[in-house]
Structure formats: C-alpha cells, structure tokens
C-alpha cells in the first residue's frame, strides 16, 4: 500500500529538490518520523484508557471511556483491558521503531488501515461518534503521513472536516429522503421509494402545489433581499472605496461590528424598535407627532425584508468593496477622455469591472436568505411560511416527518448547488474565481 503511494510522490519530491536523491530521502524520513509521533500519541492514549477504565473504573472524562464501559458490559472488563494492552503495546513498538528511522512503513500502514476499519466497527457496535472519529481520523492521519506527500498531509484536516461534516450528512439526508417516517418518528428504509419527492410535486387539497409554492415564495423573497442589498450596498461600497485610505478600514470595521453580535439577538433588537410601543412608533408619535396611532410594522413584508437586508448587507458590501477598490482608476479616466458621460462610464466600464464583486456578494446573500427561518419567525411573526420554516417543522416541530423533510432538503441543496455552479460559470466569464 505504502509503496504504491510513495513512488509517485518520491518523483515529485525529487523534481522539486535540487539534489533529488538526498532531498527525497529527507522528506520521507521526516514524515515517517511524524507518523511515529502519531503512533506514540495513540499508544499513550491507549495506556491512559487502560489505567482509567479497567483499573480505576472512570467513565466521565476522556472520550471513549463511557463506550468502553458499555463494551465491557457485553464482553468482559478483562477482554477490554487485553484489547487496550495489545493496541498500546503495538502502537508503542511501532512508534519506537518509526522514531528511530526503521523501515516499518508497511506495518504502520497496516495498523492504520486496521484503525480505520475498527472505527467503523466501533461506531456500529457502540454508537460513540466521538470515539469512532478519533480512531478513524488517527488512522487516516498516519496513512496521510506515510504517503509522504506534503499536499495530501496539508489537505488532510480539511478532507476530514468535509467528509465528516458535509459528505457523510449529505448522504445521510439523501438516504433518509428515500425512506418513510414511522409512527415512532424513526426512518424506515426497508422499502426505499421516491414517494417523498412525488409528494413535493403533488397538489394538496384546495391549495394546489403547496410545496412548490412555498419554494417559489422563498426564492422570490431571497431574490428581493439580494436586489435590495445590491442597490444599497453598491453605492455604499463605492463611497467607502473612495475615502482616504486610513478612513476606509474604519468604515469597513463599522460594517462588520454588528457581526460580533448573534443574528438572533440583532433580530430581536428590531422587534423592540418596530413593535407597537417600540422605539420607532414612540419617536413618530411622542417626539415628532407625525402620526396619531401606532403603525403596525412588525410581521409585515416590510419587516421581513428589513430584517433580511439588515442581516446580510455586510456579505454584499465586503466583496463589492474589494472589487471596487481594485478597480484601475485609469480606466475611468480613459473613459472620460473618450467623452463618455458618467452614466455611460458607469455602465460600460465600472460596473462590468466590478461584476465579480457583484456576483460574489449576490451569492453570499442569496444562499443564506433562502435558508432563513429565524427572521421570518421573529420579524414576520410566523406569518411568512418559508422553506426554512417547513424544514424546521419536519425535523424539530410537530410535523415530524423527517423523511419528507430530508427530500425537501435534498432538493434545496441541489438547487443551491446549481446556483453556485452557475455563479462559478459566470465568474469565469468575467475573469473571476
């Protein structure tokens, strides 16, 4: 296993170095030594568990302790102790050999594969996700190190991250969407079907295509949010970019400061401003005396859009600012030298050149706006039933049909994926990405 991976790498390392043989050797050596350290860590952890679980009977502190106690209930404490001893000794021996520079890469790789296989077994038997992740990620890390490929090693942490928190759950959702939710709230996958997807596209009662309707409504609101953010954000970013240099950072800082507070809290702050006896109404009635009775501002489309635009405006301003700031001022001068009026200059020169920022900002605003449910609940007063609200209801609300929610989530994910691909496509066209 190791040799097949390493030959290709050795060539690459050799090409990169001036003195191929020696440099390539130094690379291998260092990474194998690191693998030795990784083995030492697992040997020590095994020993610590050996002391704490069978000897002291502890179960509340380190990862895997509770799960090992459960294993001991099914097997016996002595077999758990034997297992831990075997692994600690094997890893200790391997680490000592590797740290001394012995050629035991093959054996270490075999041990790493055992670790990965074991992590799956461990999760299947004991349902301890944290422990399984530790065992599996450790095995993977040793393999990555033994590959002697700097690229693989650098990418490894993000690969684990993506795999565990994106690919695995995505497949989980996909699988769940083919199942059926039982009376007990579990997902029954014994007879997979596309029933949930059919349900998405079927008319309901007297209301027609309810689910499609919810979807279209959500996309429309997200689109409006994006458009308003763009209209407000563009001049603002433009203005910041034209400030003296030392002011720019201060203005950008001011754009970002609201981010230090959680979105939920900021959204609730708008409730205090907008409600009947809130700040805005008292200003209009008591201070300015413009109106006689309080305006109903909450749970109107106005409040919903206000909350969304307020929440996501910085996502628009920051990329816009970046592309406007990079704009070559000489282009604008050239345009006016060629007798283009300001409007024409803007549409023919400035706007196309800042299109990358416009696209990046739009996608950054649009995607979270589609998934919103906090803002529509808090500022929309629950009057606006959007995709996010439907999903919330299926997973943690009274709807409780997780399989159907999963189907809805899958469709949403794929549509967003397509939108992102279009964005990258357009981005390439305007010379971005």
């Amino acid at each position: 296993m190791t040799t097949t991976i390493s030959t290709g790498v050795r060539n690459r390392a050799a090409q990169a170095a001036s003195s191929p043989e020696r440099a390539g050797y130094a690379y291998q050596h260092r990474f194998e030594r690191w693998a030795g350290w990784a083995m030492l860590v697992s040997a020590l952890y095994g020993t610590a568990l050996l002391v704490r679980v069978p000897l002291l009977g502890q179960k509340d502190f380190l990862p895997m302790e509770a799960a090992l106690h459960r294993l001991a209930e099914n097997l016996s404490m002595s077999s758990v102790a034997a297992l831990l001893t075997a692994f600690s000794l094997a890893d200790g021996w391997l680490s000592a050999r590797l740290l001394r520079g012995a050629a035991v890469g093959r054996m270490a790789a075999a041990r790493a594969w055992v670790g990965i296989a074991l992590s799956l077994l461990y999760f299947a038997a004991l349902r301890d996700f944290g422990g399984a992740l530790l065992i599996g990620a450790h095995g993977g890390a040793v393999l990555a190190l033994l590959s002697r490929n700097g690229g693989v090693i650098l990418a490894y942490p993000s690969l684990v991250w993506l795999g565990v928190f994106f690919v695995l759950p995505l497949f989980g959702v996909l699988a769940a969407s083919l199942g059926r939710t039982t009376e007990l709230g579990l997902i029954d996958l014994s007879a997979p079907s596309l029933e949930n997807y059919k349900r998405l596209l079927s008319p309901v009662g007297v209301s027609g295509l309810v689910y499609v309707n919810i979807f279209v409504r959500t996309v429309w609101i997200a689109f409006l949010t994006t458009a308003i953010c763009l209209v407000i954000g563009y001049p603002f970013a433009f203005w910041i970019a034209r400030q003296p240099e030392r002011w720019r950072n201060i203005w950008l800082m001011l754009v970002m400061i609201p981010f230090w507070t959680n979105l939920l809290i900021r959204t609730y702050a708008w409730v205090i401003i907008l409600r009947r006896d809130g700040a805005l109404n008292s200003l209009l009635i008591d201070v300015l005396g413009v109106i006689g009775r309080p305006l109903d501002l909450l749970n109107t489309p106005f409040a919903l859009l206000l909350g969304l635009v307020y929440g996501y405006l910085p996502f628009m301003v920051l990329p816009l600012y970046q592309s406007i700031e990079r704009l070559d001022k000489r282009m604008i001068e050239a345009a006016s030298d060629l007798y283009a009026d300001p409007v024409r200059t803007f549409w023919r020169v400035i706007f196309p050149l800042t299109l990358p920022g416009v696209l990046a900002g739009s996608i950054l605003v649009f995607i979270p706006a589609v998934g919103t449910y906090v803002v529509s609940n808090v500022l929309g007063g629950g009057r606006f039933f959007l995709v996010g609200n439907l999903l919330e209801q299926q997973f943690i609300g009274a709807g409780g049909d997780k399989a159907f929610g999963a189907a809805f989530g899958t469709v949403l994910t794929f549509l967003m994926l397509i939108a992102t691909l279009i964005y990258f496509r357009l981005g390439r066209k305007v010379g971005y990405t």
Binding site: Q58, V206, V210, N299, G382, G397
Partner: protein
C-alpha cells in the same frame, strides 16, 4: 531531545490518568455530576444551584425547544440523565426503550402528587414522574369588556374581525393546538383522522387566517402579550399566567392578562421527569427528581414558569395569582389529551397544516 519529550508526554498522561484519584471521596453514593435536559425557561434555575450546593453534585443543564428536538438528540446518542418529555413523547420513548423505569422507592415525595396526574394514559406503569401540566385556551387582555368564552373568538369571522379591530389576534404556530382547537369548535375530536372533518377545519381556518396578526407559540408570553401587540391570544394557561406575572403593576395588581378554557373544551398536556435508559447515574437522577418534588421546590418551579404543578403539597405555597389559572373541576372535565397519530393520519394533518400556513 526526543527522549525528554517522550518522558514529558508520558508524565502528563500519567498525571491525567491519576488526577481522578486525588478528587475528594463523597460521603453519599451520589455521582459527582448529573446531566439534565429540560425545556427552555421551564424550571427555577436557582434550584439547580441549591441542589449543587446541598449535595455536591455538579449539574450540567441544557435546554431544548421541542419534543422532537429532545427525541432527535437522544436518538443520536446524547448522554443525558434526566429529561422532561411531554405526554405523547413519553409514550413513544417508553416504546423505544429510551426511558428507564424510575424506582418509586427512591422517590418518596411522589406522595405529594395529585393522583389523577399520576395515573395517565401515556405512562400507566409509572416509568416517569409528572412534573408540570397545562391546558390550552384563550388569553385575553383585561381591558376587554366582554371576555371571550368560546373558540369562536378565534374562528368565527365576525368575532375575528372584531378582535382584529380591537388590537389583533395571536394563534399558536402548532398544528396539533390550532387545528385541534378548530376541530373542538366544530364539535369533532382533537385527534380526528377523518379527512372530511379536517377539511372543514381547514376551510374555516383559511377564511380567517389572513386576519391573524401572529402565528407564535414560542415566546408570545414574554414578547407579544406584555407589549400588548395583541388583545387576545390562543395560549397555554402557564404562558398566560407568565404574562400576568410580568404585567403586575399598581394599576393591575393581578396582571393584565386572564385566561379562559373555552366552553367547547381545551387540549391538555403534561410533562414528566424521566431518567434515560442509558443513564449510568440512575440513583442520582432519582434523587434529583425527588428533590424537585419537595413541595417548596415544586412551588418555586411553578412561580418561575407560570405552569401548574401536579404537586398538591405545593398548592398552598404558590403565588396566589397562579391559582387563578388553575382550571376548576368543571373545566378540568372539559379538557382532552392530545394522542399520537398514525403515520397516514400524520401526513394528512401535515398537508392540511401546510395549506393553512401558506394561506394565512
């Protein structure tokens, strides 16, 4: 260099392993820590501190917002010891072996509990101990000259128009509650699975839903009611009581909000304190639950949450204002339990609900 590092790492590992030895031994056989998972805002949190100080058990306290959230967490393997599911969820969790049967010997304070709260449809074998209970009805602002007495206030177009003009209506964003109330008003069962009955309820709701100012069942008692964003609200009695407690002033010594159980009846629910099947600290969990059942502690929980306790011993100790939200015997007879629905019926309810929510 490497050798010294190895020695260092080894000694740190050894210290970590032995650290637990140095901890002081406890007099009782209580565990050192207890994981408690409860609804948000559903206990007097000073009780947790009191328990920690009195018994030397550290409490790790987390919150959830819905039964389904609790269920999902437990299924995913979260290791909590004490949980507080609602009636139907208790039944489901017992069926799935997620709950351990409490040893009633270890919970002597059970004697304070109201018999009819302990003998329930969802937990006939007493796996769990009742914690708080409530009912849904209508909360109204005291400034209303004629208080409502029927669900018609929420469903009859003329009355809806009247209350909307007076200040607006909030209904609960909860399919079992809102559709259930509509079914009660129409004279059907709150657990109906008949398409025609549910469709009648839907048609009625679709006529009035655009008039509702809010669909809020999450925080209306602290946001909408005290601020008078609405004049009447579909509400749980505990939340109405909370709104009353929050609006007590010199002008309104009894608070600004009152609660009625409509003449057609209301929906009843009850949360129980349970020990999870996976809990390795069952004895400590039972000890903690017993602590919550002390009459003065149960009263403190009621006073903090606004919800009624099935604890008879606590009745004399609770805030007198809360007693006004206790249904009378005659009202109690009109309450009905929400029962779980079969899969097909659940889907029917779900679709009807989606129609209402998108039309409202």
């Amino acid at each position: 260099m490497a050798k010294r590092l190895v020695v260092l790492v080894l000694s740190v590992a050894l210290l970590a392993a032995l650290a637990s030895l140095g901890a002081p031994s406890r007099a009782q056989q209580l565990d050192s820590v207890l994981y408690v998972y409860n609804w948000g805002d559903y206990i007097d949190e000073t009780l947790l501190i009191a328990y920690e100080q009195q018994f030397g058990v550290r409490i790790v306290y987390d919150n959830y917002a819905t039964n389904e959230e609790l269920f999902a967490k437990l299924q995913a393997g979260a290791e909590y010891d004490v949980i507080f599911p609602s009636d139907f969820m208790v039944a489901r969790m017992i069926a799935l072996n997620l709950i351990a049967k409490i040893d009633l010997e270890n919970v002597p304070n059970l004697k304070y509990l109201d018999k009819q709260a302990v003998d329930t449809w969802y937990d006939p074998e007493n796996y769990c101990v009742p914690y708080l209970w409530g009912t849904s009805g209508i909360a109204y602002h005291v400034s209303l000259e004629e208080p409502p007495d029927s669900w018609a206030a929420l469903f009859d177009p003329e009355q809806v128009a009247k209350y909307t003009a007076l200040g607006g209506i909030n209904v609960m964003d909860d399919q079992r509650e809102l559709l259930g109330a509509a079914l009660l008003y129409l004279g059907f069962s709150v657990n109906s699975t008949e398409r025609s009955e549910l469709e009648q309820a839907r048609d009625m709701l679709l006529r009035v839903a655009p008039e509702y100012r809010y669909f809020n069942s999450a925080d209306y008692q602290v946001t909408l009611l005290p601020a008078r964003e609405v004049i009447i609200s579909h509400a749980w009695n505990g939340n109405a009581a909370k709104a009353a407690l929050l609006t007590r002033s010199e002008a309104y010594p009894k608070g600004e909000w009152k609660f009625i159980t409509p003449k057609e009846g209301g929906l009843r629910f009850q949360e129980s304190a349970c020990v999870t099947a996976r809990s390795p600290r069952k004895a400590t969990a039972e000890h903690f639950i017993n602590f919550l059942l002390e009459p003065e502690n149960a009263a403190r929980i009621s006073n903090a949450t606004g919800y009624l306790s099935p604890n008879v011993g606590a009745r004399e100790l609770i805030d007198p204002l809360l007693r006004e939200f206790l249904p009378s015997e005659e009202e109690l007879a009109r309450l009905v339990w929400v029962r779980p629905l079969a899969s097909d019926a659940q889907r029917l309810w779900d679709e009807i609900w989606a129609e209402i929510r998108i039309g409202g």
